[in-house]
Symmetry: C2
């Protein structure tokens, strides 16, 4: 493991960290945002476009790939990188989250979980060992152990989730054989500081090359999420990357970076893009709006993305109104570019010791509507549940 | 006109001609195939990808753009080239074909046609003048007069179609004011040599900068289509491009080139791509077929298109099975590349005086299944009717 993976801290500004995580498929400058490629494709984009967008890591979904086309087929074709033509780092989740949110039936026991495919109803079983084996077949760079993501404020449920997740982490670690993959530990514990501490202590003892914080952005308030990060991050080793699963929006990423998080993934930027929701520094706009029908400006004046260099709001609106898939692609390109620029700005400001100013300046301009704020968690949760990018 | 458009014959081999048609947006090497971009986008592709594919001209649909977003909006935004970001030549059809096949109601009279939008049921009227004005607002390089496409073997219907099409051609010519657009004449006449001759004579007298052969590939047999071309092409001036509307398949293009046709458009290559139908030199394959599930080969070994350089049949099949739009794009890229390579091979073989050998070698290898042959006309017709690329 030591030869393949290395976390290097480059600069720290308060709790915010700039660094690099080295993987067999390249370096990931941190903090980083991973676009989601659920079914071995970041929807609408080619790998070349991801490179053009300076994407340094993508996430793909074990549950989906296990069911279709099957991890064995992907292995036979040379692994996930070769299969999808992406030569950069890949993180795969464990599939557990999708089993509990997508599968048609599920029966949890001490040893694993039995479920029916949401595609064809066929019966399957995930254990910590199956999930590791599946990810070894996929060949992703960062892999996740099977875990349980509970309702964050139900103490009984969270206690049980921590107990099982910790036990399964031990089994995952034992089952894992590929040295060119980093198996992260996942800290559960909902919004309860003592359970988070218990989980963190247990997993740190197991000495994982990186740590994920799970069970957030699933219905708790923003304040509860930020408070939990303040509790958990200090308990994690400073020489390992910290990954906040399923987050998130620009404002949540900024707040999490301020609390020491290094890595993020979320379907939101790509999913809202396909609904016409485009990120700008003033907030999100919907390109379907009639006011853009004759608007010759790019999505965001000054934006350097391919879409903004070439096309007007009026044209992109036309594509959406006419049901043309090129619109989905152009919107996806813009939103990923926006997220990548945000992460670049974050990294640079940390290195220059002005992260706080960067964050405040961004948030002062970025409008989170009341309605958006109310629906944020729900939307993020549903997006994750759907498992679509 | 003379300053903007020029047809140059470079080589002739039998009736087959290699040449160049010069337009305000660049030269079109002939024979050429125009991919269809119905709604101001060749579905799934950016203009940069069209350039990458050496596409020299695209077709867009006047009926669709008139209804959505509206020709006035496109004009306000700088015309169709600027609107869609394509700086190469554009040909627009008259919209007449779509009115008669797509619109919800249509009432034809001597002066024009009244119809209801297939999108929202709103009432509209196309006259020869409206159709020219619309295309002047769009700013396409090659424009078409309103015409009537009849059932090819119904003599009464065809007679009436020729009469109206010819009358409307006169009005279109009078209404047309932009010197940077070439208005072509459309020869109707179904499968009747005398009616074709009558139409051709009338239109040649009007001295158009190019001539379209309409009313073919709409239900007649292959033999009838080829015979009609043999009748019509010799009646057209040899110093003007000849455009066979809505054709076609590789075999029809080869046969038409052999009879002196220079320009083609058809939705088939792009539409079948989106159904998983991929063109190879052996014939069409469907990538959804189970036999490709573990196939590491490109769509066609040896193919130099982007898709074949990067992705396996297994991956493209997965994208189609998983409903991922990237699959539609990769398939579209391959099929357009195939058509462009075919046209390039045709042009080169004409220049080298071996077109006949090229054609025979291609057709000897290219399998047209019986079923495909039977459904060819029907499918091509439906594709045109749908007006989708």
């Amino acid at each position: 493991m030591a030869t393949w993976f290395r976390y290097t801290l480059e600069a720290q500004d308060g709790e915010a960290r700039a660094g690099v995580f080295t993987t067999p498929h390249g370096e990931i400058p941190l903090p980083a945002f991973a676009p989601v490629g659920t079914q071995a494709t970041v929807k609408t984009l080619t790998p070349d476009e991801l490179h053009m967008l300076d994407v340094s890591i993508i996430l793909s979904n074990t549950y989906h790939l296990y069911l279709r086309p099957g991890a064995d087929i992907i292995a036979e074709l040379g692994g996930l990188h070769t299969f999808m033509g992406w030569d950069g780092p890949i993180l795969t989740d464990s599939g557990g989250f999708q089993v509990f949110s997508l599968a048609h039936m599920r029966k949890l026991d001490e040893d694993g979980v039995t479920f029916r495919s949401h595609i064809d109803g066929s019966l399957h079983r995930f254990t910590p060992e199956v999930v590791i084996k599946t990810q070894e077949l996929l060949g992703s760079d960062i892999i996740m152990p099977l875990d349980i993501c509970p309702t964050p404020d139900d103490r009984r449920e969270v206690e049980e989730a921590v107990r099982l997740t910790n036990r399964w982490a031990v089994r995952a670690r034992e089952a894992h054989t590929r040295e060119d993959q980093a198996l992260f530990g996942i800290v559960q514990g909902g919004i309860f500081p003592d359970l988070r501490a218990q989980a963190a202590a247990f997993l740190v003892e197991l000495d994982f090359p990186g740590y994920a914080i799970g069970g957030l952005s699933v219905g708790e308030t923003k304040e509860q999420m930020y408070a939990t990060l303040e509790d958990v991050v200090p308990l994690l080793p400073s020489d390992r990357p910290r990954y906040l699963m399923g987050v998130g929006t620009p404002e949540d990423i900024l707040e999490a970076v301020a609390r020491g998080v290094d890595l993020f993934d979320c379907v939101l930027p790509t999913r809202v893009a396909r609904n016409g929701g485009l990120l700008t520094h003033e907030g999100r706009i919907n390109i379907r709006n009639a006011r853009f029908a004759r608007d010759p400006q790019p999505i965001e004046p000054g934006c350097t993305c391919y879409t903004c260099q070439r096309f007007s709001r009026a044209y992109i609106r036309h594509l959406f109104k006419a049901g043309e898939t090129l619109g989905l692609r152009l919107a996806t390109i813009h939103n990923i570019h926006f997220m990548q620029q945000l992460m670049k700005g974050i990294r640079q400001s940390i290195r220059e010791g002005r992260f706080h100013e960067f964050k405040e300046a961004f948030l002062a301009r970025y409008r989170i509507s009341d309605q958006e704020a109310r629906h944020r968690n729900k939307e993020a949760y549903r997006a994750r549940v759907r498992g679509h990018t």
